[in-house]
Symmetry: T
Subunit: 146 residues, 12 copies
């Protein structure tokens, strides 16, 4: 089983940016912890981060037939990218949406999502734990037919 993790803009700064909000863990450390969990259960994981909408679109396009599940934190693109939405539909891979923070506690424009209704489900608000729960869900739903 192969799972792709896709991270949107500014997530490369995780751990440095606003640590009081997002905690001091870096994206690399989260990825390492996911890889450890994956190894235990024989799952292969690949990690990708980009600040460019077009690159994320193409990464998702290329994932078709290569991965059994997708875990995506679209970050700022959650609210503005119809292109990523269309790429997710085209890729047709079971997808889990994760967010570090709880959008319901933030600015109102963060409460409109162009992604949520094309994924299986969403995990949000648990900090780095959102990734670990998202990984569990991906294992569960990557196995099944959607």
């Amino acid at each position: 089983m192969r799972i792709l993790f896709v991270n949107g803009p500014n997530l490369n700064l995780l751990g440095e940016r606003e640590p009081s909000i997002y905690g001091g863990t870096t994206l690399q450390q989260i990825n390492d912890r996911v890889r450890d969990k994956a190894r235990e259960t024989g799952v292969e994981v690949v990690f990708y981060q980009s600040n460019h909408e077009g690159e994320i679109v193409e990464r998702i396009q290329k994932a078709r037939g290569q991965f059994d599940a997708l875990v995506i934190n679209p970050a700022a693109f959650t609210h503005t990218s119809v292109a990523i939405r269309d790429a997710l539909i085209a890729a047709n891979i079971p997808t889990i949406e994760v967010h570090l923070s709880n959008p319901a506690k933030r600015e109102s424009f963060r409460q409109e999502s162009l992604i949520s209704d094309v994924v299986i489900g969403t995990v949000s608000g648990f900090g780095e734990t959102s990734y670990y729960l998202g990984f569990e869900a991906a294992k569960e739903f990557g196995k099944r037919k959607e």
Copy 2:
């Protein structure tokens, strides 16, 4: 560690009602599986379901000081109950919101939530797995100070 699971109206019908949508698992079976997981890690779990808004309000009120975390599927009350929202604020216990289905794929009035911004985070769209991920989150966040 003690965790309370609260289920809102019509969830007593789970497994019988619209099985093509919600699957054939009953609430009792979900509770049993959560209890098994809880036993392995020494967590005590209590389950509660009601179709009455006032009873749920009072169950949450009484949970104060008795439980370390709360997992709630408010079902239809998600969208209409200011009273449950107020009770959650009053109880002041770390709370995880779970939903069986993905609200972003359903009627638009199901996309307004009166609960989401007073909980730590939300897990939705994974069927019964939402409860198991919610239980993991509760263990994680019940331990910490919010």
Copy 3:
């Protein structure tokens, strides 16, 4: 053939409350007249009224498999109860919605309905006659496959 009549909050006051608007007929008198009509055509009718949302939810839940049709006047709950809506979907009995007054002539919040799109049809504005027409519709649609 068995038909259940469900009446929402404050309808127990019918005939006493604002008689200039709602007329002087009590709910009991309406029920009696429906029972007479039912007797003539060999239909069994049961009447239920409650001011409690949870009780109405449970009465509808229990009606599954017991009744061939449901006539409901949700009164104030028409505009606020997602729980009754969900119960009607779960019960899956042909349902007729009736209203004494014409909502289009009243406050604007009474013109939003959470019930109308999950019933077969609606009869509104004819005072007690709405019940008798609703009974006719129930006989017609209780017989058929929806």
Copy 4:
């Protein structure tokens, strides 16, 4: 007692158009069945259909003083004709609005009505049965003072 039935645009196609939705009964057959019911109770009925807003306006104007009640299915004009609304107010005859389908289950623009608040009441969603219930209501309310 005399009752006028007014039918709006495209209802002349009833029975031929989308029979899976509207059933295979023609407007002529509905009218015949209403006439039979009317004969039994000594009521005189007149039927009118037009695809022209102006003609319907004039038919309603001429009904003043000639009929005791009006049953109208304004069809598409329900949502667009202030002129028919004004004609109904001017004619000042007790009026019953009927619809074959349940507007709450259709496109959102069909849920705005320019007619509903100037009639006594509405019957909708019961197919041809809406006409028969509308006829019953007309007999009841044609007799009374509004």
Copy 5:
């Protein structure tokens, strides 16, 4: 100088319909009084009324080059007819809009106008006097270049 008066649907009932609101003067009597005023100042006036949108569109189309000014009471079509609006733009005759009643005191849908921004000005709320003031404005603006 030649002025055309165009009257929309249901105005043929003026004087008979809701006399407590619209007064007991008929459209014929208003026309007669306008004709008297016109005669004194050597203006020719023509009167037209129709309940049909298409006929009004064609009457306005034919007025091009035949009249120096247009006084129109579009009645119910004020709020629903883009076709009359387009005909007025095409005819390109100085036009005065008149209303018997004050729309600001009536239903909210009567406060949207599709006509007002393509006429020179509007006179509303003065009963039959609106027509006499509209006639004065037409004489004034029919003389000038717009």
Copy 6:
């Protein structure tokens, strides 16, 4: 018969300000022409202009019992002054609202009026002619009971 003309802010600049839009006639010249018309028919007219909302409120308050009709061009205050609205209701004098330009051709915020539903009627879009027609309406409606 006594008629008061009230003019709102910036109308003191009439004739100088944007003459290509408002024409070259000053408020003084309009007042003179109204006075001439008034003299012919034995009507007494008084003219008032202010840029201060509070002063206009007090001028209207003092008009009670002193004038038979009021002609008001509230200018910019049309859209922002609840105080003038309340003063007009309190004064209870038949009032005519006039505007030089046609609000339907201007910015959208000029299409909301806080005044129109408390006056008898409105004349707008005819330049200085709006005042002369407003004066005619005031003579007509100052004579009658409202």
Copy 7:
């Protein structure tokens, strides 16, 4: 003179819940202080609290003819209960609405009220003092015809 005090959901927690916001006074202490004030002026007072919408509806129904005035703090139900609104209309007792906090300083959904336009007046924002002022108003308006 008899006055009924009705309190909505979560008010049983008063004094314990968020004391930094609501103060340390319990509902019992407020009731005691009201009873003292009542005794001095020979007024009889009855206190009622419930977390159940249906129970409050029925308490208000039973108050008809038994009380001269009603003081209600509907709490969370202020924004969601059409049933309590209908019960207040049916009971037809002079009613005073009170709130501990000032809704204008809270979440936007707390600024919609389904109750305010069916009561005599509202007192909000003064903590427990709102109840004492509400009692004064009830004495004043319980004496008069509304």
Copy 8:
């Protein structure tokens, strides 16, 4: 193959009305040019124009089974006619919507269409060329099953 062209209100004035906007070509000249193109490819074309909504409804109704494709420029009725929409659904002929001008550059009410979601596709903004491209699309889609 037979194609019907239907033109809505005011299009009879094409070429005369606002030539700076719509060009100097008349509807007759467009029809002639379409007929020439049709003759070359052995297609039969019929042209229809009306200013009456009801007549257009009936022309579309009669087209059922008589034509393989429909090209319609509903003009002003695009934005106001549910009746034409219903007639198009009932007729069930592959339909192409054309507009001379680009609605996105015009008044906002012209950007709401009641027709677009029941046709195959739309061509707009190319002046008379919109008709020629619409004809090409009709030939293409008239041949296929929709």
Copy 9:
């Protein structure tokens, strides 16, 4: 203890204007009665009324440090004055908002308030009694730290 009463536009007409609505008591009589109550409890009261927004702004500015509490009925300015709102924030005196009538029963624009969220609390709907209750609240909250 010193309390300032500020009254907005048109309140100088109280008792004369629409006595059937506002009662026959004048503002002077209300002030006298408040002064009597104040004298009994050793409180000094000052009364101010103006129809000018700017004057009210300056009166509030000058109250800083001079008064312990402020009772304001902003009347029409409630809905339109950001300047009074800003002055209240700047003055930083505990303020009580009062209204004679219940805004929830009046025009919809009277339900938007620019003042309510910067005062301690609001008393509305009790006629002149609103002032007496407002005075009680001012005594209570003038004493405390806000």
Copy 10:
């Protein structure tokens, strides 16, 4: 004559992605067919596709003075890119917007376009035929002055 075709994100997947909706034709095959048509009429065509908003912006910028017309299918960027809109305005080349599907039949967010009002016209809903009709329009409008 030179025409540039610009294609937005995910169109590189055409023919593979959701063939039941978009058909089995690839973008390459469409381009080939356009090139054949172009060759017959001596027009030069260039094709460009990118998933990157910035690259499309720069391709359009460089087209200035190099091409006589532009055919663009902005795909997902239709609804989100003000940058492409600004580039089109800056490039100032006659532009035709094409869409494979009919946006009026899809999600509501696809019905907002940031592009339509800066192009000559739009062709949508005809599958690959939209490109061929767009090419015809480009030849027609590339020749003229806009």
Copy 11:
């Protein structure tokens, strides 16, 4: 060159009111610093502040032909005064709008401006520096034709 500075309501309190937000500098000190800068470059400056809308309107009216540029901080009137907007249009002097704070960080009603679209440009958010930058802009744009 002559520049007029106009300041709206409550700005006379600058330096005293909420110094933690607005800083401790008074309006007088800002004016002094502007005057120093002006003297160096031979520009004449005049300062005006009022809490009265009507007075500001009249000050702007009198500025016509007297000043080469206007710097205005309309404060609370930014959001409510159509009269000041109209006066600015009438005065036709190049105008610069300045704000001490950044409206995008404040209450939502402060984000609607009735002034911004009739000035050359806006400087906001820089505290007293906004005035100095506004003065620079005024020198630049006072010299040119707008």
Copy 12:
């Protein structure tokens, strides 16, 4: 002191694109003039322009700790980029937003800004002068603690 200037999409065309609106000055010339001003006061300036959202995000990320202030003209990205907003928050450098034109005079979608509430202040509408004033503000606010 070091200041970074960031310019968004299409600004590379400045001076060539729509010179009647944006003037004939190129971005290079503006940068040169800023550099001259900077040199006089010993400030170091760096200029950056990109049409790619992702590149701008990364340029801002890298500016952290490298610059004392940021001047940004996000151009089209002002209205669509949550990613740039998030990068600005993460970079945590005092930022000044500048615009050549006055958004309040342009299309309505240009009046929504995703950037304004995370910067210190905004300068807009002064053409190239906006940059020079922005530079002055950056010097002022780069020196201080925000």
